[in-house]
Structures are given as C-alpha cells and as structure tokens.
C-alpha cells in the first residue's frame, strides 16, 4: 500500500506533532497526542471508516488487557481467543474467505498495520495477566497502540518502553543540539533509502508475477538478491524515518535492523532483521513452546527436538503474521527448515568437536565469510515466497513436481 511519508501533509503534521508534544505539559499532553494520532490515522493512513474500525480494534485489545489483569489466566485466555478471532476475521485470511459466506466478508474493516496492532495488544494482555504492567489507563494505551510513528509498520515497541519514555523515566534523546540534528538526519536518510534507493533496486528484483522456472538459476539468484535488498531498503528506510521523528517527539521506537546482510547463520539473521518482531516471537511463542515441549514425555529428553519443533512452529506463526496467503506459510516453513538445518548442524558439530574447537572453527575467516554468503543466499531464496503471488508459487511447485 502507498502511504505518503514524503508529502507536505505528513511532514508538516510530523513537525507540528514534535512541537506540540514538546510544548505541552501534564495530562493535556496525552490528549494533544491522541488528537495528533487520530489526525494521522484519518488524513494520512486510513480515512474516516478505516480510522473508526482501527480504533474499535484497538479498544477491543484494551478490554482484553483489562480482562487479563482482572481475571488472570482465564481472563487472558478469553481475551486472546476473542481478539485472535477478531484479528483473523478482520485480516481476511484466505482460509476465512473460503469458509465464510460472501455476505459476511467486507472490505470496510480493512486497515493498515493490523498485524502490528494485534501483536502490541497481545503483548499488553500477556504482560497485564503476569502483573508486570501495573495500572494501564485508557489514554496511555490508545496513544501506545495508535502512536503514528509505529502504527503503520512497527517497530513493535513494548508498552513498558513506550510508557517509560513518555513519562520521562527514560530519555529518547540526549539534550544536545547534535543529538537532535542526528535524529533529523536519520529521518532524512530514511526518506532517501525508501524513496530514492529502494525504488531503483526494485526494478531489478523479483516481481509478484515473475515466472520462476523461466528465470534460470542465475536469474533466480540475482532477482532474489535484488528483491531482498529492495525489501531491506524499503522497510529499514521506513524505520529510520520513524525512529528519527519519534526521537524528536520524545518516544524513540526500538531499533529494528542491525546489518542483516552480515548475519553468519539463520539465528544471527533474525537477531539482526526485524528485531522487534523476533523479540516478540521469542518471548511469546518460542519460549512458552520450548518450555511446553520440555515437559512432554516424548520430548523431555530431547532438547534438540524440542528446540527444532518450537522453532518450526514459531516460524510458521511468523509466516502467518506476515501474510494471509499460502505463500507466506511457505515463507515461514522455509525459515523453519533453515533453523532446523542450522541447529542440527551446530549440535552435531559441538558433539563431535567440543565447544572450544567449534568456537575456533567459527572464528576462522573463511568459515565466517562462508556463513555470511550462505545465510544471505538462503534468506534471499526464502524471500522469493514473500514476493511471489500464491498462484505463481503453486504453478512452480506443480511444474517441478511433474518433472
């Protein structure tokens, strides 16, 4: 979807927001920020109906968080089940459109960044049930949920981090002119990444309708590299813009990228790529699953199996979070497969050589460089499924199977 971050409206509204939020003190600051966030939703992102449905979705998350805080585990389960059902319906996954009659399907509820809103709300529910959030007031929650800097595409900020910065417990920016100029520069560099470099690279990358089998191996690699680089510039450019603006505003969103092209293995890759998503998935999907598998009779003695099962399920959730079609399920599955291969290889190597020798082996420059090349190509190939239309993916699979 096209959003107009390089428009006069967006830049002017962002500048006004920075000045107003800095200039107002006390409780009115909350109301001013809510008015500004609503203005962004209405004018920049969604229009009136989309804004209304998004606010309702966000409020439902607040009700879930209150239920979780009040009724503990039972409230949390009810809140998550109801909220997930609403999310699945509103997101209109392919399988939902197959099952539900047309009369129940509507585009009116379509919004931007629904998956981001969903994960933020689920995090608040779980942490509220655990008693780690304290009292959550409605206006703080709404501003956290609808914060225009993280609303459309993340990064997925934690409620605690948002509130600490909003209340001045943590500072977003050092009180020096250089730091403010750096934040402005960060936003400008992000605009250049997203609006100059990314579109240039995109022309050489895979397109949604590319016929994979007609590409040849070289074409497949080059186009998947270009798409991967385009995606990085597009998303990290956006993150630079909102981190710069958020820092000036007083609530800095978390860092989301750390040179993912230099990742030495798939685990390292997800520590560097879309970090806020990885941390969310680790805390709320992988860790509970791993603990669950370790307590099952079948897997309690097999830590590697428990870890691999948890990783595959986590990556499938990641795939489903990213998109509504079978392509994204395959995207998640491929990443899960890379994890299984890496973890198993790492386990075998450690068993054979011992930790110390494995450490020396990994530090060898050739092994280090080989890891980077392999990881870059493996992730670029997985991103093919991120870009291709599901019909194209199915066609390619059928043709390869028929050979």
């Amino acid at each position: 979807m096209q959003i107009t971050l390089l428009s006069t409206q967006f830049l002017a509204l962002a500048a006004v927001s920075v000045l107003l939020v800095a200039g107002v003190r006390g409780q009115p600051r909350q109301y001013v920020f809510l008015a500004l966030n609503s203005a962004f939703l209405w004018w920049i992102f969604l229009g009136p109906i989309g804004t209304l449905s998004t606010v309702v979705f966000s409020l439902t998350g607040f009700v879930g968080a209150r239920m979780a805080a009040r009724f503990g585990r039972r409230g949390l389960t009810a809140g998550i089940v109801l909220y997930t059902a609403l999310f699945v319906y509103q997101r209109q996954y392919d399988f939902v459109t197959w099952v539900l009659p047309d009369i129940l399907l509507t585009d009116i509820l379509r919004t931007v960044g629904l998956s981001f809103l969903f994960f933020k709300a689920v995090h608040v529910m779980i942490d509220a049930a655990g008693g780690t959030l304290g009292r959550i007031d409605l206006i703080t929650y709404l501003n956290y949920s609808l914060n225009f800097t993280t609303f459309a595409m993340g990064p997925i900020q934690r409620f605690q981090d948002y509130r600490d910065q909003w209340e001045g417990v943590k500072t977003a920016l050092e009180p020096r002119l250089e730091a403010h100029l750096d934040a402005g520069l960060r936003a400008l560099a992000g605009l250049a990444k997203a609006y100059v470099l990314a579109p240039f690279v995109a022309d050489y990358g895979l397109q949604p309708d590319t016929d994979l089998l007609s590409l040849g191996l070289t074409g497949l690699f080059v186009q998947s590299w270009a798409f991967w680089i385009y995606l990085y510039l597009n998303f990290s450019g956006y993150c630079d813009i909102v981190i710069g603006i958020g820092s000036l505003l007083g609530v800095r969103p978390p860092e989301n990228f750390n040179r993912p092209f230099l990742a030495r293995n798939i685990s390292d890759f997800w520590q560097r790529q879309h970090r806020s998503l990885t941390l969310w998935l680790t805390d709320y999907v992988f860790n509970p699953l791993y603990r669950f598998f370790l307590t099952r009779p079948a897997t309690t003695r097999h830590r590697l199996l428990a870890a691999n099962l948890s990783l595959v399920v986590t990556m499938l959730v990641s795939g489903l979070w990213h998109g509504t079609t079978v392509s994204f399920l395959i995207f998640g599955l491929v990443h899960g497969l890379w994890f299984v291969v890496y973890r198993t290889w790492d386990h075998l190597l450690t068993t054979r050589l011992g930790r110390q020798r494995v450490k020396q082996f990994r530090q060898h420059p050739l092994v280090h460089a080989g890891g980077i090349v392999l990881t870059f190509n493996a992730t670029a190939l997985a991103f093919v499924f991120f870009q291709l239309r599901p019909e194209r993916v199915v066609e390619a699979i059928v043709q390869v199977a028929g050979r």
């Binding site: 979807m1 096209q2 959003i3 107009t4 971050l5 390089l6 931007v112 960044g113 629904l114 998956s115 981001f116 459309a152 595409m153 993340g154 020096r176 002119l177 250089e178 100029l181 750096d182 402005g184 520069l185 400008l188 560099a189 605009l191 250049a192 997203a194 609006y195 100059v196 990314a198 579109p199 995606l231 597009n234 998303f235 956006y238 979070w321 990213h322 998109g323």
Partner: protein
Amino acid sequence: MSRHGIAVRLLAAASLIVVLLLLARRSVDFVYTGF
C-alpha cells in the same frame, strides 16, 4: 557543542534534501503496511 560538528550535520541534511528533491519517487509502496 562543536561548531564543526553542527556544520557537518547541516551540510549532510542539505545534501540529503537536494537528493530527495531531485531523485525521490513521488509514491512508494511500503511492503509492510499490508501486514
């Protein structure tokens, strides 16, 4: 506060603004807005 540091940052900002004015595409699809 170093005048040199501030001048360098202002120059970099001005350069980026010129690049954006000359080369930026008018509209861009942000891939992750669909998620």
